[in-house]
Symmetry: C2
């Protein structure tokens, strides 16, 4: 079982990394790009047979407490088989 956590800067927060990627793409001739957001991706391998609900709660708690910075970042958690 796998858990995936995607952490992105909140829309209102400056995202210099995203801006840099957007500029780079434009300079290299890729057009039609309206915005780029750069975040973190964390993939967690869970022991087989773990209870998805317990895992979700534990990881939501961990994401909120120390994997993301809730002041400037949003996170999204998915649990998949």
């Amino acid at each position: 079982m796998k858990a995936k956590i995607i952490i992105t800067p909140k829309k209102a927060v400056l995202d210099p990394q995203g801006k840099t990627v957007q500029n780079a793409l434009e300079h290299m001739g890729y057009s039609g790009i309206q915005g780029v957001h750069v975040g973190k991706y964390i993939e967690i391998d869970l022991a087989p047979g773990s209870d998805p609900e317990t895992a979700r709660q534990a990881l939501e708690d961990a994401s909120h407490r120390f994997l993301s910075n809730p002041i400037i970042e949003d996170f999204r958690l998915e649990i998949a088989d």
Copy 2:
């Protein structure tokens, strides 16, 4: 239209960030974690009406050329409405 690029270290490459997160989770009492991989997440807003196939090709090229390091990283590209 949005494109999402997920860049992860190849399995054979040391992932010290992942190892650190795994240790932190264990020390904080979260059990049943067998492995953690930390990567990058890039979300790209594409102009409405862009051709998905053209966008896919351009972004695959960009991912290969400069968004990821193909020697030590894998990338996964998804185009969604």
